[in-house]
Symmetry: C2
Subunit: 178 residues, 2 copies
């Protein structure tokens, strides 16, 4: 059992890499299996169905994302909200964050259409992101929940504007937010 779980976990990591590079929307069994070094037959056998695989893959991606946040910028309090936002914005401009942004938009599109697994995954990612931001706000922030919400909303807005090819709009806002 533990042996099987280890193998599945290895597969999931490899498939997560493939998904980050090639997108989640058009991901089909055979390419995923090739990325994991196995066969579609095995993926169905161990995950039950493609839905089961996507479910596991989404959990894996969410966990990887929250871990990546802590790894990139471990908790530590910024002097003020503006500095905190600047730090996170700079982090989001790094290539690995941009790569994840593609998958994030895939997840959002499917979540918006009502698919339960994608909705819970998206909510979990948001929750983890909010917690992480709270841990980076100024120690004396009067209202960390609101502060984190403002920063996260701006990060997500900037994500959309950047994806739409207008990072300049996001930048203009960033300079006048706090």
């Amino acid at each position: 059992m533990s042996d099987s779980n280890e193998k599945k976990q290895t597969w999931l990591l490899l498939m997560a890499g493939h998904v980050v590079e090639n997108g989640l929307a058009g991901a089909s069994l055979r390419p995923l299996a090739k990325a994991a070094g196995t066969s579609d037959r095995m993926l169905i056998y161990h995950f039950g169905s493609k839905d089961g695989l996507i479910d596991a893959l989404l959990r894996c991606l969410a966990e990887r994302f929250t871990q990546a946040l802590d790894a990139a910028l471990p908790p530590g309090h910024a002097p003020n909200r503006a500095a905190c936002l600047a730090e996170i914005t700079a982090l989001m401009r790094q290539p690995q964050a941009a790569a994840f942004a593609h998958v994030w938009l895939d997840i959002l599109a499917e979540a918006a259409r009502g698919t339960t697994v994608f909705q819970t995954t998206a909510a979990a990612i948001i929750e983890g992101f909010l917690d992480w931001i709270v841990g980076r706000l100024p120690e004396d922030d009067p209202d960390p929940a609101t502060g984190a919400a403002v920063i996260l909303a701006h990060i997500e807005g900037a994500l959309v504007l950047t994806a739409a090819g207008r990072p300049d709009v996001a930048e203009r806002v960033e300079n006048t937010l706090f």
Copy 2:
């Protein structure tokens, strides 16, 4: 020629409706043709290829979106930025806006992955949206470009947070933005 263009335009409107309801990512020729009341054979014949069809469909969607904005809230100056944001936020909560949000996220996901047609469409939609917001800002707004950018960034952030199942976060920000 004009006859052919009229027919294509009718088809595009019907297909746009289908796409808004069923998503753009998984849209394939035969369902689109059925929605337009024709055949996949005819779509290929008149649009050259699926890429050509998607291109035309995206232009149609972008135009429909900007027109829908003007139709929902014709230009008129709000008393202040906060009121302007509140108006637009209320508008975005209407069902038709939510329906378009699904397609918008599809477009963004594809644009983020680098597909040119989606990128230009996304940029055009952003541009039209910005112009429309400028036309609704207070008449004496000191910096309409920045004001529109701040409002649009928040709207897009709220879109993401809502799609992720956390509209509460967006709402919290809205109350403290101006």
